[in-house]
Symmetry: C2
Subunit: 134 residues, 2 copies
Amino acid sequence: MDDIKSKNSKQNDLILRILRSTRCHPNASWIFAEARKEIPNISLGTVYRNLKNLIRKGKIQELSIGNGLTLYDGDLRSHDHIQCMVCSKVDDVPHLFHSVAFNQVEEATGYEVVSRRIEFFGTCPECVKKSKAI
Amino acid sequence: MDDIKSKNSKQNDLILRILRSTRCHPNASWIFAEARKEIPNISLGTVYRNLKNLIRKGKIQELSIGNGLTLYDGDLRSHDHIQCMVCSKVDDVPHLFHSVAFNQVEEATGYEVVSRRIEFFGTCPECVKKSKAI
DNA sequence: ACAAAATTGATAATCATTCCTGGTTTTGTC
DNA sequence: GACAAAACCAGGAATGATTATCAATTTTGT
């Protein structure tokens, strides 16, 4: 029972299922392409609409790394992300390591701090290997 | 002497000067509007082109927080950012507090880690005040 | 002063995302 | 099950940020 009223639709279910069954962090058009395999005439607008609904209901996460593209993540466990500066791939980082002091940020800025996001940038193992092969 | 060859232009100088003389984190069209005050027929394409050049030369920073809009920051000192979830304003956070273990991230992901970015989200002092006034 | 190279303004093109509309599906109630 | 209201859909048009194109201009090194 979500406190936001909504109806069931196979399109919505499908999109959530797609996101939960992949470990990558796809954008809307990748999800659209996947969805078409099952519902060939699903529309891109429907994909965007349902992605927004799922975010609103807290069932998926949105992440906007660099490039301006919006990516989606079906993994709700709290974790951070790392992006390869060569191939642009995004991977997960378990966020166990980082101590970030909300109260000190609040003191320094006057904000009431609610959440934070950490992104790392570097070179992924595959691209490291490739660069060494040259 | 930048290792990237470029010519001087008053448009480029102006854009850098605008970014350095503000403490806000503007987007391209705000910079465009400011630039027009001095060079009325400067074009938006020129603004985008020079922003890219300045980033490439490491003279300004690009930051893409949530909403999909690209913001620019003329402050090169290393610092983090915080965004108000109500009014979308972005402020600086001196990054003194946060211990982020690159080597542990490298172990966990296999990446060679180069940099990181931290963004905070919350409510700015003004919006807190407004919400309490109601 | 001059030619080569980079930059500009203006405008067209691109791309992700949102909006709109008339038709369809789901839901709660009888 | 039938029915009306509400939410949803497909398709396509509209929007808005950013990039590409191109002839004309400006800068640079010689």
